[in-house]
């Protein structure tokens, strides 16, 4: 099963490589990983999406806790949570395709953030599924570049 694991850790040089190293050394899989400082600049929040059975996810959580820099680990998928991912996609646009592409953008409430003579850069935030669906719906057009942030998320309870 797919899990979203939220890790609060010391904002120290090398913390990211400790986590990445742990996943590769123990053969855990990473679908995506995002990291940035929090409002407290001494702390970073890392969000990892991984796929594994319950035993594997339990080991991932425990092994993350074992890292000295890690303050807190939460499996967001175990509770009510909000997850979002940001997509930026660069797409070829011409007279023949523009109307159809505009329609798709409307349909998904995506946003054009940059326009050139023959390209759009489109932004879309949402759950990963929505982003996949949007990209699928653009399948008929010429996608030039895709950049996704990977998932980030928060727990809906007041105290996580």
């Amino acid at each position: 099963m797919r899990h979203i694991i939220s890790v609060l850790l010391e904002n120290e040089a090398g913390a990211l490589s400790r986590v990445a190293g742990l996943f590769s050394a123990r053969g855990f899989n990473i679908e995506s990983l995002t990291v940035a400082a929090t409002n407290d600049l001494t702390l970073s929040r890392m969000t990892i999406v991984s796929v594994g059975n319950d035993n594997i996810i339990e080991q991932i959580v425990k092994q993350l806790y074992k890292l000295i820099d890690v303050v807190k680990v939460t499996d967001l998928t175990a509770t009510e949570h909000i997850e979002r991912e940001l997509l930026l996609v660069k797409i070829d646009v011409n007279q023949n395709t523009q109307a159809d592409i505009d329609k798709k953008i409307d349909e998904f409430s995506a946003k054009i953030v940059d326009v050139s003579e023959d390209t759009y850069i489109i932004e879309l935030a949402g759950q990963s599924k929505k982003i996949n669906d949007f990209l699928d719906s653009l399948g008929a057009f010429k996608i030039l570049e895709v950049s996704r942030t990977g998932v980030t998320g928060v727990c809906q309870r007041r105290e996580s």
Binding site: A13, G14, G21, A25, I68
Partner: protein, 577 residues
């Protein structure tokens, strides 16, 4: 007062009560050596190879319970130490390694003797630091010792660039406490889990205690003894646990696992309640995991939450220091009546009567088992015994009956050949009043003979018991059993004259070729209180370690000496090591 970084580092080490450092100098640490030279509280032991430094600090830590300290230079200094660091990591040994680094402005430039020490060691340390500022030195040393010695112990590396050792600043205060929001090791077990464990223990009819290295490292030997005797339960120990519970006690079934006794492994297999104390269900212990303890409920006590449920699903998990948890269990079980386990004990006695460690002696050949038995006799079972890795290691574990913890020092987790000799030197420095023996093989000893020179310089008299079977015996045994006796590269045609080797390093060498001479030679060696003696003992080249659970088999599928001389193995087993 203004001090330079190197002086602050040395003062920080003194503040941690460091008395011995094992190390080797080089460009990046010259300032640190200069600061060490200017003081007398810390003794520096100059090894002959950085791997030796790490193993010696490791042996020192295991024998004394203190943190072992290593100092090496950048580049090849730290890469040479990596095997020793990984060895300590696998066995959860408290160690602080200080490595020099190229000056900060050169980091990342492929400078002379630059390696990414923090990157290289990341997967074999509990934690590591790269010091970026002179103001971090004192607090980093404090944290490093705290992390290395608390929770599940392990090695911690501090990488310090040369410019930072040279920079000067006002002397800092060396604080006495560390508080890290991200590192809060658990001490006590949850009361609810203790109660559940106690209930399970009281209702069990075929219980067994399976105690591991955590009981030694966690200084829980007294609690383990009280707990076991309170219940009158059978107890087995892992290779790493030996000595925590006295081997000569009636309740002790011997070691379990691949080369464990018949009674220990059979009891594990048939048990209805396994109480794992400071052990981690390693593959050398469980054998085929699908056949492991098929009918048992499992209670697992461990300091490391990630050890629990990693290899084996457990019924009651107690996270905490084994010492504290055992104390709580002892209290919870006080004056409670256990189930009648007399039938279980008679079954165990039957298994015991198989006498699975019996071996056949042969006229004219020295049996390796006899050597260990003689060592036991001559030292009254009171020596610290370190070992290398191979058949000799298993025989030492099986035939030297350790009655006290921190007497048996070996590389169980990583299985590092070369560990034994430097570890013995470290142990002797930690416990100068004790006899220290290093049980080794002609293969293993050759990985670290250079430390004989260090041992002369610092006068650390150790008795080297070389079980010279002329083979990489453990490899040969597997080839005999599982590769149809194709002995690929397990024979060394060109062995040195070990007597002359010892003599050239200023020690005493004695060669023993006849059974009749064995005991006298051993007595003579231990009489030489102030000398290192190398006993080169020519042993039966064809002897194998029994009992043995071949890879892929279960605890109840052991091979016994003289009964199942030829082992077989299935394809699944061949894939395992």
């Amino acid at each position: 007062m203004k001090l330079n970084g190197a002086q602050i580092l040395v003062k920080s080490l003194k503040n941690e009560s460091v008395e011995h450092i094992f190390g080797y100098p080089g460009g990046a640490v010259l300032h640190i050596y200069d600061a060490l030279d200017a003081q007398n509280d810390i003794m520096h032991i100059l090894v002959r190879h950085e791997q030796g430094a790490a193993h010696a600090a490791d042996g020192y830590a295991r024998a004394s319970g203190k943190v072992g300290v290593v100092l090496v230079t950048s580049g090849p200094g730290i890469t040479n130490a990596v095997t020793g660091i990984a060895t300590a990591y696998m066995d959860s040994i408290p160690m602080v390694v200080i490595s020099g680094q190229v000056p900060s402005p050169l980091i990342g430039n492929d400078a002379f003797q630059e390696v990414d020490a923090v990157g290289i060691t990341r997967s074999c340390v509990k934690h590591n630091f790269l010091i970026k500022d002179i103001d971090q030195i004192a607090s980093t040393v404090k944290k490093a010792f705290h992390i290395a010695s608390t929770g599940r112990p392990g090695p911690v590396l501090i990488d310090i660039p040369k410019d930072i050792t040279i920079a000067q600043t006002q002397e800092p205060t060396y604080s006495g406490v560390v508080d890290m929001r991200s590192y809060q090791p658990i001490v006590d077990g949850e009361p609810e889990q203790i109660t559940r464990a106690a209930e399970l223990i009281l209702s069990s009819k075929q219980p067994i205690i399976y105690a591991g290295g955590g009981c030694v490292i966690g200084n829980a030997d007294q609690e383990l003894r009280e707990f076991t005797r309170q219940l009158n339960f059978p107890i087995t120990q892992t290779l790493m646990g030996l000595g925590a519970y006295p081997a000569n006690d009636e309740l002790f079934l011997g070691m379990l696992g691949m080369h464990g006794t018949y009674e220990a492994n059979m009891s594990m297999h048939d048990s209805d309640c396994v109480i794992a104390v400071g052990a981690r269900f390693d593959d050398r212990i469980t054998a085929n995991i699908d056949k492991f303890c098929p009918t048992a409920k499992i209670i697992h006590i461990d300091i490391d939450p990630s050890s629990i449920g990693k290899n084996v699903a457990v019924d009651v998990a107690i996270v905490g220091e084994v010492k504290s948890v055992l104390q709580d269990l002892i209290t919870a079980l006080k004056d409670k009546k256990t189930a009648d386990i007399s039938t279980w004990w008679s079954q165990i006695k039957q298994w015991r009567s198989v006498d699975s460690l019996a071996y056949q002696t042969k006229e004219g050949v020295i049996k390796p088992q006899t050597v260990i038995e003689t060592l036991y006799e001559v030292t009254n079972g009171k020596a610290i015994v370190t070992s290398d890795v191979g058949q000799h290691q298993m025989w030492a574990a099986q035939y030297y009956h350790f009655d006290e913890p921190r007497r048996w020092i070996n590389s169980g987790g990583l299985g590092t050949m070369g560990f034994g000799l430097p570890a013995a030197m470290g142990a002797k420095l930690a416990k100068p009043e004790m006899d220290v023996a290093c049980v080794t093989g002609e293969g293993s000893i050759q990985m670290m003979t250079q430390e004989l020179s260090t041992m002369l310089q610092y006068n650390t008299p150790v008795k080297i018991i070389n079980l010279n079977n002329g083979y990489l015996g453990m490899v040969r045994q597997w080839q005999e059993f599982f590769y149809e006796k194709r002995y690929a590269m397990s024979y060394m045609e060109a062995l040195p004259d070990f007597v002359k080797l010892a003599e050239s390093y200023g020690h005493i060498g004695i060669k023993v070729e006849k059974s009749a001479d064995l005991k006298d030679a051993m007595i003579e060696a231990f009489k030489q209180k102030d000398r290192t003696v190398f006993l080169d003992i020519i042993t039966d080249p064809n002897e194998n370690v029994f009992p043995m659970i071949p890879s892929g088999a279960g605890h109840n599928e052991m091979l016994l000496a003289g009964r199942d001389e030829m082992a077989s193995i299935n394809d699944e087993g061949l894939n395992l090591v």
